[in-house]
């Protein structure tokens, strides 16, 4: 019988290499492979759709400003979180997020269901000067969002990039018609890449998120994004025990 000693590994480079690769492969198989194999990790729930061009640019600003360093977007299935933030987050709700914004650091509150909780006006005021509405807040001021013109020249390219990784933005008539079936005509038009700029401007005009109709600001995009967070799934139409069975 060969007596195995740690020393044999330490003094034999070839053996160390093989053993290291073995350890990493096993860990990789166990941790990564199931994500591709296990069925039903992403819940089959109605309502989840890709972001409109404006919301998507708002999301890009959210990432640019580093909001994710203090805010998570992941309500865990605990009672205290459910009471404060609302229904726990579903995997399906971030299936079109690339990269997802789940996060694990909460200096500020979770934002997974912040959509509709405050008025647009509140968001604008809060982003410009957080302490003017929440005195104990430690959030920095973001006044430039109101002054910066939103750069949407490359929105088409951004959407094409997301389409390449599986987000159903449409480029041609066939894809557009598929979206009409899945998301309805109005939404499908907004998800159509050739129309991206027109639908972005139309969404700003219809909602005037930042209260200043004179130009399309970065604030318009960010508020549009915040207001849609967590609002796509109607939980009153889903039985809670159905979601249990996805785990």
């Amino acid at each position: 019988m060969i007596k195995f000693k740690h020393e044999s590994l330490e003094t034999n480079t070839g053996l160390l290499l093989v053993a290291t690769m073995l350890a990493i492969s096993v860990a990789g198989m166990v941790e990564i492979a199931p994500l591709f194999l296990i069925k039903d990790t992403v819940e089959d729930v109605p309502g989840v759709r890709p972001y409109t061009p404006l919301e998507q640019l708002g999301r890009d600003i959210y990432i640019r400003e580093g909001c994710y360093t203090c805010h998570s977007q992941m309500i865990r299935p605990f009672r205290d979180e459910q009471l404060r933030y609302g229904h726990y987050s579903l995997a399906a709700e971030s299936k079109y997020d690339h990269p997802f914004q789940w996060g694990s650091k909460r200096t500020g509150p979770d934002l997974a269901r912040v959509g509709g909780k405050y008025s647009n006006e509140w968001h604008v005021q809060h982003l410009i000067a957080p302490r003017s509405v929440v005195p104990e807040s430690v959030m920095p001021n973001y006044p430039w969002l109101m002054e910066n013109r939103l750069d949407y020249a490359d929105i088409g390219a951004r959407m094409r990039a997301l389409r390449a990784v599986g987000v159903p933005y449409s480029l041609n008539q066939a894809e557009y018609e598929r979206n009409v079936k899945q998301f309805g005509a109005e939404m499908a038009a907004q998800l159509h890449i050739p129309n991206a700029r027109e639908s972005l401007i139309a969404q700003v005009k219809a909602n005037n998120y930042d209260g200043d109709p004179s130009f399309v600001s970065e604030m318009d995009a960010l508020v549009a994004y915040l207001q849609v967070l967590g609002t796509m799934v109607d939980f009153s139409k889903i039985k809670p025990e159905e979601l249990v069975k996805y785990r």
């Binding site: 194999l37 296990i38 299935p77 009672r79 609302g86 509709g116 405050y118 509140w122 785990r247």
Partner: protein, 306 residues
Amino acid sequence: MAEQHVKPQGPQTTGHVWDGDLQEYNNPLPQWWLYGFYVTILFALVYWIVYPAWPLGEGFTTGLNSITYVNSEGKEETWHWNTRAKLLKETQAAAAQQKPWFDRIAQASYQQIVQDPELMGFVNSAGRALFNDNCAGCHQIGGAGKIGHYPNLADDNWIYGGSFEKIRETIVNGRQGYMPPFAEALSRDQVEALAHYVLSLSGEPHDARLAAEGDKLFHSHTGACYYCHGSDAKGRQDIGAANLTDRIWVWANVPGARDMPAKVAAVRQVILGGLNRGIMPAWGGRLNEEQIKVLTVYVHQLGGGQ
């Protein structure tokens, strides 16, 4: 003198010598540490058996542990342990604990709740938690509000009405305040006169001559202010037109202005630009019926409910 522990020999080495003089100390882990490590391995083995752990093709080992909860048909259902099932069970247990209270809230009329000290104790604790989570972001802790942005809920002045029914309506459906802008309809002088008149209604410093002019304008078809604010300027709660005579300022920050020109400017700004804000989100979809009732009574008793 401090006692010195001197080891009889130097530490053991692995026995190897590299490059003529490089040696490696051999310091084994303390025994308790080593056995502690073995215990964690043992713990993992037990954990694998009891809880969902190992992936198996398209599924995974679900573990021996299970959780029983009540499904939406009211029947008991058992599923392997997971955090969602655990949450569902805990939520149902907590709801069962709170049920007697919420049942009493649901059955009692608003008047009965207010007169029942026990129920009011519940309203004050549950209502405060709900208020701080959902309302305080705008209306601030205690309902003090933010002048120029969010109405004060702790006074006895109500834009849309302070009865239980009206407060409930506001919470469930939200509100959307609106006043048309007068920048184009009125001249600069007319707006100035109106601002002085509005200030005079609350006993603020004003120019009497301009206020008299504004008074006429207010009640004329040109200014048409009385359409919404009423000929007595006391407002109309059914459309959310503010009472201008009660010295309470919601939109124009008159109390915060130093002198008469600043106060006039604050009022002028509202008349010129109108209001297309004052939007309160609807809570009907976020809170359930009982929670809204608790919140209604809580907000009602914050200030002077009507």
